[in-house]
């Protein structure tokens, strides 16, 4: 049996900052963020990849950080909820979540927001039904689903306006 005392080098970019340490291989990316780096915005809702509360971006793609061992993604760029607001300005998705009342208790919210940001990148935004389908990996027990879809659509509309503005 491998005891947790065995340490393996871990090197990551987290919200643009370099991180390196020797870690037991059993440390998940989620527990690294929450318990060792005090980045508690990323939430633990099941630790089984079933709820999406721990969603972060790894190299721009949404992943469930509870299913990734921290030492298994050397040099990866990790973006968490703490890393998307810039210069004191909220990311449009964060603002849209507030405006659309897209949360209640707030616990699934960071995961929903990270997932929604990646969703826009993936382009699964052609209808409310499509957004629902591709957001279904993020559970919300308060049932803020309508608000979350509204928030995503607001950001989609904002992007379209911005693109139209650039084109013109």
């Amino acid at each position: 049996m491998t005891h947790v005392s065995v340490a393996v080098p871990c090197r990551l970019q987290i919200n643009g900052q370099g991180y390196s340490a020797d870690l037991p291989p059993s440390v998940t990316l989620l527990d690294l963020l929450r318990e060792r780096l005090d980045l508690t915005g990323t939430k633990k809702g099941c630790d089984h990849g079933q709820c999406g509360a721990c969603t972060v971006l790894v190299d721009g793609k949404r992943v469930k950080s509870c299913l990734i061992l921290a030492v298994s993604i050397p040099d990866a760029a990790v973006t968490t909820i703490e890393g998307i607001a810039h210069d004191g300005r909220l990311h449009p998705m964060q603002q849209a979540f507030i405006d659309a009342d897209a949360f209640q208790c707030g616990y699934c919210t960071p995961g929903q927001i990270m997932s929604a940001i990646a969703l826009l990148d993936e382009g699964h935004i052609h209808s409310r039904a499509e957004i629902r389908e591709f957001m279904s990996g993020n559970l919300c027990r308060c049932g803020a689903y309508n608000g979350i879809i509204d928030a995503i659509e607001r950001v989609v509309a904002l992007q379209h306006r911005n693109q139209a503005g650039e084109a013109a």
Binding site: H3, V4, S5, P24, S26, V27, D31, R34, E35, D38, L39, T40, G41, T42, K43, K44, G45, C46, D47, H48, Q50, C51, A53, T80, I81, E82, A85, L90, Q94, Q95, F97, I98, D99, D101, F103, Q104, C105, G106, Y107, C108, T109, P110, I113, R128, R132, E133, M135, S136, N138, L139, C140, R141, C142, G143, A144, Y145, N146, G147, I148, I149
Partner: protein, 744 residues
């Protein structure tokens, strides 16, 4: 600006929004005191028996493990069961964690591994082996029904049914009869945040306990009693709660174990439950209701007989009000009901969102739909025909009941008049379309609550009460209430909640917080405003125009109009002139004499009418909810935006109740086996359509000081029935068991 002068009633965005969307809001498992140990709980895999031997040598070998706490080595705890009693008032002998070697339920904690890292604690927990002496158990609800009983001491909030007329005779004489057994599966709350506790030891040795709870003062009282700690040296905090829905009404074992371990090792401790462990404590009880309805040919209800049973543990008598709702809400000359609890060897069932009514209203409203069809009457028309303007069970008038208006507005919005009555008559291709409706009812409660308002030199108004915002919007509506009562812009108000040291507030639940804490904040702000003007008027330095009866406070500025024209004074200047750095007022909102008399003479409820469209695949039997409309009569709505979210959220949970949620017991081991989100299905994005919430105008200045009834539970009541009734309308098949799954 209008928005500033009347903030109550505006759709204000949540004031805790920025903290929540940036990840800065701190939940129970998130403070990180230096030197903190991680506790991982080991649970019993058997339902009844006694611990024979604990083998922890291998676990202790794991580097980083500091201690393995069991009933054998734990520090002193309270001896008597009474010391473990909590505010929920469930009669019986409360479960005492690690008290002795006896096992009362599967999943009972038997050990806590404490280690320097989470990974070490988790690994060691897997290495703890426990030998048990196994005793026979029963975890089968059907078997426990043979032992059903009425507790000799009933739960404090239990409402005994009051029969009227001769229901049995009237039933026998009724030309139309509907009779059936309805069933609700047990459900688990499953808030997204798992129950967790972080115990911080302050410099003076006092404990600050961050716990996921709905009542910080209740947890403080519980820990003081159960662990024999001084209340003065025990502070419980829960500024942010990641949902609870009732799972945080009673202290969960993690808070007891984390605090006990901190006491034992004199180090900070965190214990977070796993998702499977979330199925080892409270759940909504399994329930059966035998309902017999009799009516005359014209659709007039003549008789109602309701007999209900819910499960409880072997050591406590949890009770719910499931059988009374139809007797209250329908005009029916003959009605009777009976209620019992059935014991099984599990943890004690407990309150989950709209406890009692979620079960009783939904199952009854399914039977009402059956009766409407038996009378060949439109289900909405049937309900209007049997409408009661009073609390028909207590023969009491109501403070208000705008259910008729809710039915009319909901029906109009939904387009109910276009419905064709026969089941299976609204097909669209391979999909069968069904339209169903139901009504909802929930108590409108008010409990004595205190709040403090403080004006600081920075010109900000600080509101404090020991309420909990579990996602309900409490921070926001209290800020709105304070803004209106004091005359202050919303952005100059801070609200502090979730701390046992703050003014007394009952545990959050039952939809009473908005009415109760709202009233307390209102009073405290009026009191502070009076005090400020008084102090100022008495001060030699103050301008002569400051007089209690003429001065106004608006937009955070004192105003008056003198013969020389308008004058004003900022709040920081007012404080300085009065000679204070800060001024505060604390008030308690209580029913008062008039309120008490009103409570004796009039009943108070929230009502709703829910309309649903489902589409059922004719070949596969899969059900999609495609439209939901809920028209709610809940008195004054403080914030339509957050209130509508409350209603929608409950409708989502009710969709789970109707179609998905079911905790599956393996009776052989006495454990809920589907203890994760892959197997216990809560609704996802894809399951939920756009839902419309309408708030019906309902002016009621008698129900509570602010005319507020509360909106936390009402969305659960009726929604599951509306879905079930829509499935009948789509398919012509009656389902009397919830959830309705394709295999059913």
């Amino acid at each position: 600006m209008n928005v500033i002068s009347t903030p109550v009633g505006q759709s204000v965005s949540r004031i805790d929004g920025i903290a929540k969307v940036t990840g800065q809001a701190k939940y129970a498992a998130e403070p990180h005191p230096p030197g903190m140990l991680y506790g991982v709980v080991v649970n019993s895999p058997i339902a009844r028996g006694r611990i024979d031997t604990v083998h922890d040598a291998a676990a202790r070998q794991v580097p980083g493990v500091v201690e393995i706490m069991t009933h054998l080595n734990r520090p002193h705890t309270a001896l008597f069961e009474k010391a473990y009693m909590d505010g929920l008032g469930v009669p019986g002998a409360p479960y005492r964690p690690l008290h002795d070697g006896e096992i009362h339920f599967n999943g009972q904690p038997v050990a806590v591994v404490l280690a320097e890292t989470f990974e070490a604690a988790r690994e060691a927990a897997m290495l703890v082996r426990v030998d048990y002496e196994r005793w026979p158990h029963n975890a089968d609800f059907k078997v426990s029904l043979h032992q059903k009983y009425m507790p000799s001491k009933t739960r404090s909030n239990y409402v005994p049914p009051r029969p009227r007329g001769d229901a049995a005779r009237a039933y026998a004489l009724s030309t139309v009869q509907v009779e059936g057994r309805y069933h609700l599966a047990p459900e688990h709350h499953n808030p997204m945040e798992m129950h967790a506790t972080t115990v911080i030891i302050e410099d003076d040795g006092a404990f600050t306990v961050w716990d996921k709870t709905q009542g910080p003062q209740a947890v403080q009282a519980y820990l003081a009693g159960a662990l024999a700690l001084s209340k003065a040296r025990l502070r419980v905090r829960n500024p942010y709660v990641g949902g609870a829905f009732g799972s945080g009404l009673r202290a969960v074992y993690n808070v007891f174990l984390a605090t006990l371990a901190a006491k034992m090792l004199k180090r900070p401790v965190r214990v977070t439950l796993t998702r499977p462990q979330m199925f080892t404590h409270v759940f909504r009880p399994e329930a059966i209701m035998d309902i017999a309805l009799g009516a005359s040919r014209d659709g007039t209800l003549q008789s109602m007989i309701v007999e209900g049973v819910t499960d409880t543990s072997r050591f406590e008598h949890n009770m719910e009000n499931i059988v009374i709702w139809g007797l209250i809400n329908y005009r029916c000359p003959n009605a009777t009901a009976d209620y019992k609890v059935a014991p099984r060897d599990t943890y004690t069932s407990s309150d989950m969102r709209a406890p009692g009514a979620a079960t009783g209203v939904n199952l009854l409203e399914m039977a009402i739909d059956e009766m409407a069809y038996a009378c060949t009457m439109d289900p909405l028309a049937f309900r209007l025909h049997n409408y009661s303007d009073t609390d028909a069970m207590h023969d009491m008038p109501l403070t208000s009941k705008a259910l008729r208006e809710a039915m009319a507005q909901g029906a109009r919005h939904f387009g109910w008049q276009r419905r064709s009555m026969p089941p299976g008559s609204m097909r669209d291709g391979r999909e069968l379309i069904g339209w169903g409706m139901a009504t909802g009812i929930w108590d409108a409660m008010f409990s004595p609550t205190s709040a403090r308002a403080r004006l600081g030199q920075d010109g900000r108004l600080h509101i404090a009460t020991a309420a909990s915002d579990i996602g309900t919007g409490t921070y926001t509506i209290l800020a709105q209430t304070a803004a209106e009562a004091f005359g202050m812009p919303l952005d100059r108000i801070d609200v502090e909640l979730g701390d046992s040291t703050l003014p007394q507030c009952p545990t959050e639940g039952g939809s009473w917080t908005a009415a109760s804490a709202g009233a307390a904040v209102w009073l405290a702000c009026l009191s502070l405003r009076r005090k400020l003007i008084d102090m100022l008027a008495r001060s030699k330095n103050a301008p002569p125009w400051v007089k209690q009866d003429t001065v106004t406070l608006e937009g955070g500025i004192l105003h008056d109009v003198t013969e020389n024209g308008p004058v004003s004074l900022s709040l920081p200047d007012a404080l300085s002139l009065a000679g204070y750095d800060a001024l505060e007022a604390e008030e308690t909102a209580k029913p008062g004499l008039r309120g008490k008399i009103s409570q004796m003479r009039k009943a108070r409820f929230t009502h709703s009418a829910v309309f649903c469209e489902v589409r059922v695949d004719a070949e596969l039997g899969t059900v999609r909810v495609t439209r939901l409309v809920n028209a709610v009569a809940a008195g004054r709505i403080l914030n339509p935006k957050t209130a509508a979210s409350q209603i929608r959220g409950a409708m989502v949970m009710a969709t789970g109740m109707a179609l998905h949620e079911e905790s599956l017991m393996d009776e052989r081991v006495g454990r809920f086996m589907n203890h994760n989100f892959a197997e216990y299905h809560i609704p996802t994005h894809a399951d939920i359509p756009d839902m419309d919430v309408l708030f019906v105008n309902e002016h009621d200045d008698e129900v509570s000081p602010l005319g507020v009834k509360g909106v936390g539970e009402i969305g659960m009541c009726g929604t599951a029935a509306a879905i079930a009734n829509a499935i009948f309308h789509a398919t012509g098949r009656r389902h009397r068991n919830l959830p309705i799954t394709p295999g059913a």
